[in-house]
Structure formats: structure tokens, C-alpha cells
């Protein structure tokens, strides 16, 4: 096997499906730099007009929460039900506030 078998870094690929929508994760590619990552991502994830914009991000730059922490990480929302509009009762006879 040739000695250039080492893998280039992984880049995560995000596509904006259409104008006005948010970018979504599509998958990943290997590439030596961002420019080539974008070209590879176009060939791999953009063969059928999948979107209008593409981001590539070094996978190592993404910091993610861990599944084990899902409780403590998202829990504070649990005892603040007043953050949801249906916590508030609307006086009778009022059809719509917002």
C-alpha cells in the first residue's frame, strides 16, 4: 500500500436546503483543507440541487453535549413551565391575545 494512505481530517457538512431555512447536518467528508472539503462536499452531498448554501466545519471544532448529561443539561427548563404560553389562562371571552 502506498504511504499516502493516511486520512485527511474530517469536515462535517451542513446544507441550507432553501433560501430562508436553517442549515442542516448532511454528513461528513475527508479533505486536507476547507476549500477542498467544500468541493468534496459538493460532489458527495450536492448532486441533486440539495440546497442553496453549504458549510464545512472541521469535526474537531464542534463541541457537543453528552447523552449522559441530557438530564442536568436540559432539566432547568422543566420547572419553568411559565416559558410556555399555555401556562397562562386567558380570561373567558377573549378570543386571541397573540
Amino acid at each position: 500500500m502506498s504511504d499516502n494512505n493516511h486520512q485527511w481530517p474530517i469536515w462535517e457538512v451542513f446544507i441550507q436546503p432553501k433560501n430562508g431555512s436553517a442549515h442542516e447536518h448532511a454528513g461528513s467528508v475527508h479533505a486536507p483543507d476547507g476549500e477542498m472539503a467544500l468541493l468534496n462536499a459538493r460532489d458527495v452531498y450536492g448532486r441533486r440541487l440539495e440546497g442553496v448554501n453549504m458549510w464545512v466545519v472541521p469535526a474537531t471544532a464542534i463541541v457537543a453535549s453528552t447523552p449522559e448529561d441530557v438530564g442536568p443539561f436540559f432539566d432547568p427548563a422543566n420547572d419553568k413551565m411559565y416559558r410556555w404560553p399555555n401556562y397562562f389562562k386567558t380570561p373567558e371571552g377573549i378570543k386571541q391575545i397573540s
Partner: protein, 336 residues
């Protein structure tokens, strides 16, 4: 094994890999129970979630085999790109083969989230340690074979992949969704090739029938051994990596394909094939499992050729990888 340094899906960061030895038995049982409950509840498993080591290993085996199949699958079809009967057919076939490369990359990318580097998977393919679908060890002798592959081989793959799109491992399931959308084009272009040939001269119809005769049984073998003889099935079904048995999917493929063959006047090369009105399924003849076993153990018509072609392609691509690395290094240096 080299692990990919990957924050988004980095198994090194989690307690998953290599931790089973350090977890207490109680903790291990607790996690396994939680894992089982998640699967039973129809939730997907994501890369950083705890998973049993056997689940990870089986998935890696399946996904890398699947990715290799997409990549090796380019070879029999690539054989006809330069000889496609028209420019339009050539453009379609090129796009189809390019899709197969893309499909391989989607699945390698998904498999890497389980902690194995793509280069290691490719090494396993080139060294013969990893398998790929037996179907690609058959030769493509005529243009009609390109039709038969798109229609029958991709048709069988769609039946498999539609189910895999609902499997329990998130990245695999998402890769399958993407692939399924694209496979329908492959399937239709293959059927169109066959339909055109069947409307042609006697030679063209004979060519289509000959391709049908050679690809029908190997396509049925793609679903793998019968359930009574499928060593990994029980675990995979329990974990919802597989949702249907090999035999069920094979039956589904036959039921949907026979009417398509009849519609264009192709004969199914199986004397025992007949519609059973009470089961609402086709009955079919015995599959030659001895042949299947020969092909998967390396003695099919083209096993050695495929491995040689794949190894050559890898080595012949070395200069591209070197050039890209050199370009990137030069650009980085000029920025300083």
C-alpha cells in the same frame, strides 16, 4: 484500531468504547437495560450514546460491507461507460456510477461515527478481510447487463435499504434515506434499458433475456442466506438493525419484480415460479446456495478481478491524493 478524532460524534469522549471492562457488572446491566428500552421504544441510537460492544461491532461489520459493496459495485457498470450505445446512455450511466461512489461515501461517513477510520475499512477491503455483496462478482457481458443491474440489483438493494432506513442506528438510517431517494433513478434507468431492448430486434430481445437469465438468481441471493441459516440475524433483529428477515425481503422483491418482467415480455428463469392465490405471494424454486457460498468465499467468476481493479484504482489514485496534499500545504505556507 485508530479512532477518529471527532467531537460531534467522538466515541473516545464517551464512556462507550473500551469502558466495558471498567464498568461494574451492575452498571453494565443497567446501561444495557436502558439501551434495550430505548430500542424497544423505537428511539434511535446516536454515536455518543452508550451501546453494547456487540452492537457496535455488528453495525461496523454491516455498514463497512455495505459501503464496500457500493464502491465495488462501480466496477461491473464502469465496464460499460465507454461502450454505452449512445451519448445520452453514457451520461446517465456516468451519473449512476458517480452516485454509487457517493453512496459508498455516505455509508463510510456514517460508519466512522462508530470509531473506525475510513482508511482502516478500506485496508480491510483491499486485504480481503472485509466482504462486499456477492452480486458484484458476476461479469457484465453485454449492454443488457447494465439494464439488469439497474433494474434487478438496485431493485433488490432498494427493498433492503428501505427497511434499513428505519434501523436503530441514527447515522446509518439517515444515510439510507438519502440513498433510497437516489436508487429509484437507478432502478428506473435499468428497467427502461430492458424495456427498450424488449421492443427491439430479436437479437436485442435475446440479449435482454440472457441478462435476465444470468442476473435473476444472483439478485435473489443478495438478500443473504435463508433465515434458518443466517448466523447474525437474531442479534440484528433484536437490536432493530434488521427489521425483516432475509426471506421476507426476498419474497417482497420477487412479488414486486415478476409483474414488471411480465409487462415487458421477459421470462423469469424459474420453472417453479407460480402465483399462489391463497398466500398472495409467488412461489419460487430452490436457490443454489452452493453457488452463493462459493462466490462469497472468493471463488465467484470475478472475485479476483474485482479486487485487482479496486486495488489498482486505489494505487492509481495516489497521485491525486499527493497533489491535493501538496496544494493544501503550499497554500497554507503562502498564507504565513
Amino acid at each position: 484500531m485508530h479512532f477518529v478524532n471527532r467531537n460531534l460524534a467522538n466515541p473516545k469522549q464517551t464512556s462507550n468504547i473500551g469502558m466495558e471492562t471498567t464498568l461494574s457488572v451492575e452498571e453494565l446491566n443497567k446501561r444495557e437495560a436502558e439501551f434495550d428500552a430505548k430500542i424497544a421504544g423505537g428511539k434511535t441510537i446516536e454515536p455518543k450514546d452508550w451501546m453494547p460492544e456487540r452492537y457496535r461491532k455488528q453495525l461496523l461489520r454491516m455498514m463497512s460491507q455495505h459501503a464496500h459493496s457500493e464502491v465495488v459495485g462501480m466496477l461491473p457498470e464502469g465496464n460499460w461507460i465507454t461502450r454505452a450505445p449512445s451519448l445520452a446512455r453514457k451520461a446517465v450511466l456516468l451519473a449512476k456510477v458517480q452516485d454509487e461512489a457517493g453512496h459508498g461515501l455516505y455509508i463510510y461517513s456514517a460508519a466512522e461515527t462508530l470509531g473506525m477510520d475510513r482508511s482502516e475499512m478500506i485496508d480491510q477491503l483491499l486485504s480481503g478481510k472485509a466482504k462486499y455483496s456477492s452480486i458484484f462478482n458476476y461479469p457484465t457481458l453485454s449492454w443488457a447487463d447494465i439494464g439488469a443491474i439497474g433494474w434487478l440489483v438496485d431493485g433488490a438493494a432498494i427493498v433492503n435499504q428501505t427497511v434499513l432506513a428505519k434501523c436503530s442506528y441514527g447515522p446509518y438510517s439517515r444515510a439510507m434515506l438519502r440513498i433510497c431517494k437516489e436508487e429509484n433513478f437507478h432502478n428506473k434507468q435499468g428497467y427502461q434499458i430492458m424495456a427498450y431492448l424488449m421492443r427491439g430486434t430479436k437479437e436485442q430481445r435475446d440479449m435482454a433475456q440472457d441478462a435476465m437469465n444470468r442476473f435473476w438468481w444472483p439478485a435473489l441471493m443478495m438478500f443473504g442466506p435463508s433465515d434458518t441459516n443466517s448466523p447474525n440475524s437474531a442479534d440484528l433483529m433484536k437490536w432493530k438493525v434488521k427489521l425483516n428477515s432475509n426471506d421476507d425481503l426476498r419474497q417482497r422483491f420477487i412479488d414486486r419484480t415478476v409483474p414488471q418482467a411480465e409487462a415487458i415480455g421477459l421470462r423469469i428463469p424459474d420453472d417453479k415460479l407460480k402465483w399462489n392465490e391463497s398466500t398472495r405471494h409467488y412461489e419460487f424454486g430452490e436457490i443454489n446456495w452452493a453457488e452463493f457460498n462459493q462466490v462469497i468465499s472468493g471463488n465467484g467468476p470475478c472475485n479476483k478481478l474485482r479486487m485487482k481493479q479496486r486495488t489498482d484504482a486505489h494505487n492509481n489514485g495516489a497521485w491525486v491524493r499527493e497533489a491535493a496534499a501538496a496544494y493544501s500545504a503550499k497554500k497554507a505556507a503562502s498564507k504565513k
